[in-house]
């Protein structure tokens, strides 16, 4: 076996960088969509809105019991066919790999984040709601200023763990022929026959990003420890 030669990494840096940017932007978008949508899903269940709450429970149960890679396939192949039928002419309307990735990840993560938030909502002390009532705060103000901030603080370590998993899961987009960090590295590795170096380098990249995020969790925890201890 040849000695390790990392010069390949330096040469192909721009390509790896663009892969990393794709992974990060997919993570960020799925986080944003997932958190906003997930919070809405959790609140709808929390308020037990008739019918809607049941539908959401079903949605969350289904999403959480099938692999993400399968959802990606479904979305990529089935949604164009459904759209084609809906449009009337019967021909599939392709939505493209990138859109598929962003939408699927957003919807998928929404199910996971909604469960985290739903549990968090249940953990808020009954007395907090009573204090809001006694002060005549509206339901909107109660949730916006009192309940959700506490839920997000309590749940932030779990939310960030889920986001780290999300970041690692973005590598699944290779099934859609999209080039994320892992995808870029794989292609370069095959091309140059430098598999070991490439996979070592991106392993380090994933490690650094994930553990840096974990550090953020620790810092957040410390910062809110005062407010959370009661």
């Amino acid at each position: 076996m040849n000695a390790l030669d990392f010069s390949i990494v330096a040469q192909s840096w721009p390509y790896l960088w663009s892969g990393l940017l794709f992974s990060l932007s997919l993570t960020a978008a799925a986080f944003a969509i997932g958190m906003i949508l997930g919070t809405c899903l959790a609140l709808a269940q929390h308020f037990e809105i008739p019918v809607v709450a049941q539908i959401i429970r079903g949605y969350v149960a289904i999403i959480r019991s099938i692999p993400l890679i399968l959802v990606l396939f479904w979305f990529f192949f089935l949604v164009p066919i459904v759209l084609g039928h809906l449009s009337g002419n019967g021909r599939p309307i392709p939505i493209g790999a990138t859109y598929t990735a962003f939408i699927t990840f957003g919807l998928f993560e929404a199910a996971y984040y909604s469960e985290i938030i739903r549990v968090g909502l249940r953990a808020v002390n009954k007395g907090q709601f009573e204090a809001c009532q006694a002060l005549a705060l509206s339901t909107y103000d109660t949730y916006r200023h009192i309940v959700l901030p506490q839920v997000l603080r309590v749940a932030s370590p779990i939310i960030l763990s889920q986001t780290i998993i999300l970041f690692q899961d973005t590598s699944l987009v290779y099934v859609l022929s999209l080039t994320d960090l892992l995808g870029a590295a794989s292609k370069l590795a095959q091309l140059n026959g430098r598999l070991v170096e490439m996979y070592l380098v991106i392993a380090v990249a994933y490690l650094v990003i994930s553990s840096a995020t974990s550090q953020c969790v620790a810092i957040l925890r410390k910062r809110y420890a005062v407010a959370a201890a009661r």
């Binding site: 907090q128 506490q150 407010a227």
Partner: protein, 255 residues
């Protein structure tokens, strides 16, 4: 103006009228045909064994518990299911809880400012001035920037009193405000309440602090098993309770 018995006629001085109120929790009747009238400026101490319905009664007055039958009229507004009525009553009724229920993610000042800004619609700076003024009054102005968890129990409860006062209520309800406190902190909270009473605030307090009852109460109302059994001036009630149940209760809490 303590009264041994309460007449049924509505008089202009009455700020809280509870009439024939019934509250059930499933099969359990927490309040059974309770009638209580409170005059403006009057201080009432509600006492009784646990489960007697005293907390439920004051929680009905600001509609944290919804009564099943009877009428509750607060400052001329009857509590029905109308949200507007409920909120207008809640604006006039401050409440202090046994477990403080401060907002842990907000500073002491923010705890006091949120509702006046969001509900009363006053400006940030006015809310801050009001909050700091009332925090000074409960002798805790130095802690305005701290979070509740950084304060002692007694300090937290005084913040809770200030927070309720920031809404400028006409009536204050106290639900066992000193029961969750370490003994050495009871006094500072009671002193704050006595001060408030002396300023003429209308107060309904669920408490077993009989010293407090003696000092400020116009009337002591004794409840048992969901009914008002006895009401009298503190001296009369403590020295010569009329009912056996009140005697038994007093024996228990004094020993």
């Amino acid at each position: 103006m303590p009264r041994a018995t309460v007449s049924n006629a509505t008089r202009p001085a009455e700020i809280v009228v509870v009439e024939n109120v019934v509250k059930r929790f499933g099969a359990f009747t927490a309040l059974n045909d309770v009638t209580l009238k409170v005059d403006k400026g009057e201080k009432i101490v509600l006492c009784g064994p646990s489960g007697s319905g005293k907390s439920t009664l004051i929680r009905c007055i600001n509609h944290i518990e919804k009564h099943d039958a009877g009428r509750i009229i607060v400052d001329g507004v009857e509590l029905t299911n109308r949200i507007a009525d409920i909120n207008s009553v809640r604006c006039e009724v401050g409440m202090v809880f046994q477990s403080f229920n401060l907002f842990p993610h907000l500073t002491v000042a923010e705890n006091c400012m949120l509702a006046p800004i969001r509900v009363r619609g006053i400006s940030q700076s006015e809310a801050r001035d009001r909050a700091l003024g009332l925090l000074r009054k409960v002798r805790i102005q130095d802690q305005a920037g701290k979070y509740p968890a950084q304060l002692s129990g007694g300090q937290q409860q005084r913040v809770a009193i200030a927070r309720a006062l920031c809404m400028q209520p006409k009536i204050m309800l106290f639900d066992e405000p000193t029961s969750a406190l370490d003994p050495e902190m009871v006094k500072e909270v009671l002193e704050t309440m006595v001060e408030l009473a002396k300023e003429g605030m209308t107060m309904v307090c669920v408490t077993h602090e009989m010293g407090f009852a003696r000092e400020v109460a116009d009337r002591v109302v004794f409840m048992d098993r969901g009914s008002i059994i006895e009401e009298a001036e503190p001296e009369t009630f403590f020295k010569a309770p009329r009912t056996e149940r009140a005697k038994a209760f007093l024996n228990q809490i004094i020993h």
